[in-house]
Every structure is written in structure tokens, then in C-alpha cells.
Subunit: 384 residues, 2 copies
């Protein structure tokens, strides 16, 4: 559809502005998508806005409120198809119709089964000109997790890794502080902040005893766009198939939701001792461990983006089972030697055709380290 449209300079500028606005909500809208909207009348911006937080007005509502009567006969640029359903807010398509906009330019369709073209259809049925596809890729990229969840019911999964140049995460005695530098560790805070959930394994809890929360003071430049009050802590998910979590774990001391996932129910007595911010979930086992496909189906009900921060076994399982979309590897310019601990446990592949297919999508320096972002390619089905 978009191939037949030749966009004007004004169109491309206005949609760029709408995407810029949408980005402002990148860390705060989840599990909703980040959306921006610009209303233009007689070549002038008369209204603009972005979605800030789930439960609060959508981008279109902010922009229409600002535009007021100027919105009549105007063009609205929206980074995501306006919604057509009554959720926590009334449908935005209806608001655009009621105010009397003349044309709506949409970057990308909303794959949400409750919308999925109905928003666009509603507008067209009301006689509004609708053009779709301007800056589609950019708008899509803003909401990779939301898009995947709406399309598949599963969250996008990022596996965070940190290792030396020879792929080691610790010396043989477990010493790992510090392989990567402070810049990399701060960047992990950003990964956590953009995630709806963090997944780790009980081994990581028992060995490292991490709090697994987002620490506002470590957010660096992000603090300019997110206030401490707006900070959303990701759900902390701990896979503990044999119910080994100690009540002294540091993560329990941070009052923010935790989901303990096991393959057998925790003893009632133990559950009674857990703080109220901890919930327990029993999922089916595969080979004695929590079924990761079941876990992702469960999380997909409310999580756009899941960050796996785990040891070699659990992180490797996500990759080996074809459940990871992306790897973020913090690489220290160090060599630890063959006795160090391995980064990822994978099946004992016998041919190069069996290894995961990766594509480097970004590489940058973070202090002394290099951060690599790799997409896991779906066209290679992994053999397990």
C-alpha cells in the first residue's frame, strides 16, 4: 500500500516528529506501545502528544486536546494505527472522527487483535483519507516487544551476556568481579528498564545474590526523560524448579513484584513466609526444569519484552530452544583462559549448520568494553 504513495516533505517531517515524541514514552508506557501523534493544519503543528503511561490518555488524545478546534479539517500523523476498541480509554479512531480531522497518516498498523486494521477501517468508513506506511520500519522498531506479543502471544526475549574475549564469565573459582566495566553495568540498567520482566535462575540467586532491580541513580542520561516516580520496575522472575530460594535472598528485600516459578508447588509453610510482593507459579517441567515455552506463553499475557539475565545453562537453553530474539553481549578486552567458566551451555552440536544463526545489528564501545547486539535469525531451526 505504502509503495503507491509519494509522501510530501511535510508528511515525512511530521511523521519524524511523531516518532520523536513516541520515543519519549519508550521507558514508561509498557505494557502499552510507545506512540506519538502530531496534528497539522495549514502547514502548522496545532497539536502534538505521546502516550506516557498505561491507563493514561493515548497520544492522539493528548494531541487533539492541544489542537482543540484547530483539529477540524487537519491532518493527524500517528506512529501506530489508532485504536478502535474501548479499553481503559475510548477508541482514538472515534475521537479523530468526532473532531473532524480530514486526513490521518499512520506509520504502521496495530497488530493487536482488537485493532488489526479496524481503526483504519473506522476512519475510512467515516470518510477520512487514511495513508499508511510512512516511516513504517522506524515506527515498528519502536515497539518490537509489543509487536511480537500482539502477533504471536509471546514476548520478545533478549538474552544479556557478559564475557571475556575468550568467552569466559568467571575464573575457575567463580571470581567474576569485575570482568566488564562500570559503563557496561550501567547499560544493563537500561536493558532492565525497557523490559517488562527479568528472568533468572535460582543458581544465579544462590551464587551472586543480585537484587535484580532498576536503580534510578545508575540510569545516566535516561534520568533526563524518566523521573524517579515514573520508574517502572520489571517483574522479577526466578526459575526455581526445586524450590531452593532462601528467605535471605537480597531480591526479596526489594519491595517490587517477584514471580517464583517452580515445577512443584512450594510447601505452604514456606509460601506463608514469603513477603506479599512475591507470587508463586507452578509450570510444567521439561527434563526436570521449568518449561520455557510455557513460561513465555504465561509472560506473553502481559509482557512485551523479557530480559534473560542468567547463567550459562538457562541463557543457553533460551538460545538453543530458539526462544531468544536477541543477544546483547558485553565483551571485555580480557582473556581469562580455558579454565574459566563458559558463557553459554548449548547442545553438543556436530556440524556448523546446527549452531544458532546470528546477525550483528549494532556494535559500540562502552568504556573499555564493546557491546554487541545480535539478532537471532529465525530461518535456522535449531536441532535439540
Amino acid at each position: 500500500m505504502s509503495l503507491n504513495i509519494s509522501w510530501s516533505v511535510l508528511d515525512t517531517q511530521m511523521m519524524s516528529r511523531a516518532i520523536q515524541l513516541a520515543r519519549k514514552g519508550f521507558y514508561t508506557t509498557r505494557p502499552n506501545p510507545s506512540v506519538g501523534c502530531v496534528i497539522v493544519k495549514d502547514n502548522q503543528i496545532v497539536g502534538e502528544g505521546y502516550h506516557q503511561k498505561a491507563g493514561e490518555p493515548h497520544a492522539e488524545v493528548h494531541a487533539l486536546r492541544m489542537a482543540g478546534e484547530h483539529a477540524r479539517g487537519a491532518t493527524a500523523y500517528v506512529t501506530l494505527e489508532p485504536c478502535s476498541h474501548y479499553g481503559r480509554t475510548p477508541p482514538c479512531a472515534l475521537a479523530l472522527i468526532n473532531i473532524g480531522v480530514k486526513r490521518v497518516v499512520v506509520a504502521v498498523e496495530d497488530p493487536n487483535p482488537q485493532v488489526a486494521g479496524r481503526g483504519i477501517q473506522m476512519l475510512r468508513d467515516a470518510g477520512i483519507e487514511v495513508d499508511v506506511g510512512l516511516h513504517r520500519d522506524e515506527a515498528y522498531a519502536l515497539n518490537l516487544g509489543f509487536m511480537k506479543r500482539m502477533e504471536s502471544g509471546l514476548p520478545r526475549v533478549t538474552v544479556k551476556l557478559a564475557a571475556s574475549l575468550d568467552g569466559k564469565t568467571a575464573l575457575s573459582n567463580g571470581v567474576s568481579k569485575w570482568i566488564t566495566g562500570p559503563e557496561s553495568r550501567r547499560d544493563v540498567q537500561r536493558l532492565r528498564l525497557r523490559s517488562c520482566a527479568l528472568v533468572t535462575g535460582i543458581e544465579t540467586i544462590l551464587v551472586d545474590d543480585p537484587s535484580l532491580n532498576v536503580r534510578y541513580q545508575e540510569l545516566g542520561g535516561i534520568k533526563d526523560s524518566v523521573t524517579e516516580a515514573q520508574l517502572l520496575q520489571p517483574l522479577r522472575v526466578i526459575l526455581d524448579s526445586r524450590a531452593r530460594l532462601p528467605l535471605s535472598a537480597a531480591c526479596l528485600a526489594v519491595v517490587s513484584p517477584i514471580l517464583l516459578v517452580s515445577t512443584v508447588a512450594y510447601p505452604a509453610k514456606f509460601q506463608a513466609q514469603l513477603p506479599s510482593h512475591v507470587s508463586c507459579l507452578v509450570l510444567p517441567a521439561i527434563a526436570g526444569r521449568v518449561s520455557l515455552p510455557e513460561l513465555l506463553s504465561y509472560l506473553g499475557q502481559s509482557c512485551n519484552h523479557v530480559l534473560v539475565e542468567a547463567g550459562a545453562t538457562l541463557a543457553g537453553a533460551f538460545l538453543a530452544q530458539g526462544l531468544a530474539d536477541e543477544l546483547v553481549l558485553y565483551q571485555a578486552m580480557k582473556i581469562l583462559g580455558g579454565q574459566g567458566r563458559n558463557l553459554l551451555q548449548l547442545p553438543d552440536y556436530q556440524t556448523m549448520a546446527q549452531i544458532p544463526a546470528l546477525m550483528l545489528v549494532d556494535e559500540r564501545k562502552l568504556g573499555p568494553d564493546t557491546r554487541l547486539i545480535l539478532s537471532v535469525m529465525l530461518d535456522t531451526s535449531l536441532i535439540n
Copy 2:
């Protein structure tokens, strides 16, 4: 000394030209250094040249021949201190004096014990103005191997490594073709070409059966500056402490010098069967293996730069013993998993302070791979 000199624009331009000329000999002068020379009279270049091959005229001789009588009263720019001794050619300092140059600008002193300031002194004693230190670092960097050998008697050692992102060189069954791409493998040809010697272990010969030669057709852009006739094959050094080299090894079929190093003499009958391009050397053992310090002392007699292309044990030994100056790591954007083979065997370090100290000095893309060049920092003494 150089701090007190303010170089003119002409000086800096002419020395840059001399360095550019020196580079033309980078792959062909060994074990001599690469040197360039420019002769300038009345702001005009009247002669220039570079050293092309050991045994042939030095850079100054080429430049003086071109300048002829114009050299009288001229300024000579030389990237390395002119020699003062009678070697295969007469001293260049004398040639400059005899022709009557007025001034000589030298980028860097020659640490060769036979020169070491005597060339500069000869010129000054003859009443010639000599300025030293223009583009010193660049000129030094042209001859890192030669400089180290002259200063210490030891060759510069580069350890070539190739691995996946998780530091694996092969699957558990040994399959390693191909982890890195053709661009990386071609770049290794360049590393070999710049080296006086390649060092490998018998295990690599037994497992991979490499020829370990430079293949002219794989040299890419270097072919523009090196003809096939100029190609210098590095000495192939095979460490074989227990005399296990099979007569069928592919490397033996390539007629170019090989040095077999063992800790006990090969049987006379075996030695008699070896082709005439193979020499044998017995060196002391350390823990049953060839002593690497002894090996480097031996090679330091004639080799500026040694390239180690070996397995995890031998490559790791060079690094762990503080004998490596540089690592060149070709990194494939792949993950092989913890069952794969480790890149480097090092001692079982117990603290992060014990690991080798590395500094990233260059990073670039080679096709799908990344090539990292890391300097091994000398200020950390490794504990073994």
C-alpha cells in the same frame, strides 16, 4: 632532543613522504628494517628511494643515486638513522658525507648495536647539521619487530587467534571449518607475509595438516606492491618435542625452509628422510616441552617478527609466559556453546590481577568477522 626543534612545514611533509616510501618495502626488506629517504634541494625533491630487499642498496643510496650532483648542499630526510658500519653495503652516513649534503633529518635512531647513534655522530663530526625525532613514533611503528630485536635480542611475537563470540575454536568433535570467513583467512596471509617466522605445534600439524606458506594469489591488495618474485616465505617453525612429525605432512611438500624443533634429537634415519629444506634443532625442555624463551632467543638472531599460529596450549603458553607482544583475534559473530574447544589454555588464575593485561589498539570488520588487535601490556608480570 626533538622537543627543542620546531619543524617546518617542508620538514614534516618531506618526512611523511619518506615514511610513505619506507612502507613500500614493508613486506620485502626483512630481516632488515623498512627505510625511506627523500633528498630536498631548494624546496624541491631531487632524489628519493626506499630499501627494497636485504643485500640490496639502502634507502639513502637509492635517493642519492637519483639526486646525483643535486645532493650537494641538500637536506636528506631519512626514516631511520643512517648506518655507520660496513655490512653487505658500505655505511650510508659516509655516502651522505661524501656527496656533501648539508643537513640530515632523522625520524628515529637505529637501536642496532652496530649503529646506535654512531651514524648520527659520524654526520655531525663531518659538520653536517642533524635533527632527530620528526615523526618518530610513525617511523618506529614501521619496524616494531626490528626495533624489538635490536633492543632485546628477541623477536616481536604476534599470536594469531580465531574464535567464536564465546571463545571457541571448534565444535567438540573438532569441526572448525569454517568459523571465520574468507576475508579473515586472507588477512592471515598478510600476517604471515610480514613475519620472518611462523611458529606452530606438532598437534596443529597432526590435526589440521596446514602448509603454513604464503599463497600469492590470496594476498589481495598487497599484490599491487609485492610481485610474486619478491615474495618472502617465512621460516616455518614446528615445535615437536617428541619427534612425531609424519613424513606425509603437507608442509613438507612446500619447498621453503622448515625448522623442526625438538627436545631430543630426531633419529638419524628419520632425519635422513627429510627433504633438504628441513633443518632440525634441539632446544632445552621445560616441563617436557620446548623452552619458548630459548626458542625466541634462537629466532632473535635473524627474525624480527614471529607469528604464532598454534592451538590453545602453545598459543596460551606464549601469552602466559609473557612472551607475546600482540594478539590478533579474528572473531566470528557465532556462538558454538560451552562444549566447543577453548581458545587459549592459561594457568588456573585465582584473581583478576593475574590475567594478562591487554589493550585494544585496532578493531575492524573483515567481511562477517571482526578483527581485534590487542597489545599485551608488559607492566603486569604474569604469575605462572
